[in-house]
């Protein structure tokens, strides 16, 4: 690890220094610091700032940024009202990592693209303008949707996929006293020509909470497909909530992991389901819309048919079709 100044934040203001690299659970950041992918000069430890409450308010649930993944998955409210979120968390990492990893940190974790984590390789995300060796290389873990010629990395989180399906919002405070609340699509960027700019979090800003609106109607689930049955990143994952009324789909929310630079959602595919009778043909139609612009890189071509099968399996499970 490169040397750094360590500061233990006593107040949120301490953590909103423009030069601060925030550390909470550290399970991703320290790993990357050992590899010298991350070389912060000032590390600010926010773990003594509280922010560990899960508060139920009218029409929403507020999750403090430092609630651990374990505590969030085991929370009675989350288990009962947002089961897809508990399931997504429990499908991620290991017991040890979930005990340390936090809600805010999980949102900000970096891609596991092997070219990003190998400093001997060019990577536009790590070193803008240096190129992307993943393209034409090993692409099993890479994106099929929303990628650019500069970056084909995927976001590794399971938690964020469920939160995206639940229309969660990120509460951010800044050193000028302002608070802003962003949707996930406002918070996360697509790679475009600035893959190093993964989120719209600005220097001097701190994630303080995630808000979940009341749960969507109907049944929820989280399905994760991976190379081994535990402790592996998703090849494709899907969080979904579907309500069926009088034999027709009344509402549908679907978010996907392992396929894009951010948790992916297709409003058009969801809209295609609403008002229709659930059937294999309908699910294929939704998958056609979702995957219309999907593009494989060779090693990840399998994700296109795999995503279709996951869509059909999950929708069949949730609708009983």
């Amino acid at each position: 690890m490169k040397p750094f100044d360590y500061i233990r934040a006593e107040t949120p203001a301490d953590a909103m220094r423009a030069d601060a690299r925030i550390i909470a659970g550290g399970t991703n950041l320290l790993d990357l610091m050992k590899l010298q992918v991350e070389t912060p000069s000032t590390l600010v430890d926010v773990t003594r700032l509280g922010m560990t409450e899960i508060e139920r308010a009218e029409n929403s649930t507020r999750i403090g940024a430092l609630v651990t993944n374990s505590d969030l998955a085991a929370d009675p409210t989350i288990r009962q009202r947002y089961p897809m979120l508990s399931r997504a968390l429990l499908a991620g990492a290991s017991g040890q990592l979930r005990n340390k990893a936090t809600t805010g940190g999980n949102l900000l974790q970096r891609t596991r693209c092997p070219y990003f984590t190998d400093i001997s390789q060019p990577c536009n995300k790590r070193e803008p303008g240096s190129g992307c060796r993943a393209q034409g290389g090993y692409t099993r873990l890479h994106a099929i949707l929303g990628a650019s010629e500069h970056c084909i990395a995927t976001h590794p989180s399971d938690m964020a996929v469920a939160m995206r399906a639940l229309d969660a919002r990120v509460e951010i405070e800044s050193n000028d006293g302002a608070t802003r609340i962003l949707t996930f699509d406002e918070f996360y960027n697509l790679p475009g020509d600035t893959p190093e700019k993964e989120t719209n979090l600005a220097p001097g800003e701190l994630i303080v909470a995630v808000h979940l609106p009341d749960p969507p109607a109907g049944r929820q689930t989280y399905r994760k497909v991976r190379d081994r049955s535990s402790y592996a990143f998703a090849l494709v994952s899907m969080a979904a909530a579907v309500a069926v009324e009088q034999g027709r789909i009344a509402s549908a929310a679907m978010a996907f992991g392992g396929v894009a630079h951010r948790p992916w959602r297709s409003p058009d595919a969801e809209a295609a389901l609403v008002g229709r009778e659930p059937s294999a043909e309908l699910f294929d139609e939704a998958a056609d819309i979702l995957l219309a612009d999907a593009r494989g890189q060779g090693g990840n071509d399998f994700k296109i048919p795999l995503t279709r099968r996951v869509v059909k399996a999950v929708l069949t499970e949730l609708t009983g079709a």
Partner: protein
Amino acid sequence: MKTTLTVNGETHELDIDPRVTLLDALRHHLNLTGSKKGCDHGQCGACTVLVNGRRINSCLALAVMHDTDEITTVEGIGTPENLSPLQSAFVRHDGYQCGYCTPGQIVSARGMLSEFRQGWPSHVSDSLTEAPDFTDAEIRERMSGNLCRCSAYPGIVRAIRDAAPEETDGKEAAE
């Protein structure tokens, strides 16, 4: 940087570089070499310790961030003369071959059993709202953060299943 660690009930004052991981602080500064360095990247679980009753990977933790925390290593779980139920069950059921992952397995199992007793669900639990059954599938899933390259998994699962009723440190994972 001045840091106080309470390890296995004993308080230690350290003056360390902030880059020192909790694992290196234990092994190199406190000479507690039971916790092992396998991958040093949070993938193998050989470095598992309990911090305030909860299991974590000590290789992915800075010692300075654990100032005043209570840490339990395998040395605090039992001694050669006085093995804990988990430790003697690992011996009885051949829960190892080379033994390098064993301290991490045992500390992780201690933490896992505490999580289980509190009713935490897992990826393989059928219900999120009812108490899970203590099945082999549950043990395997909950222990997936501990790798054993000798593949002593059948013995590890048997040992944990066998020791579970007696193994408790008297206090559950901290709220």
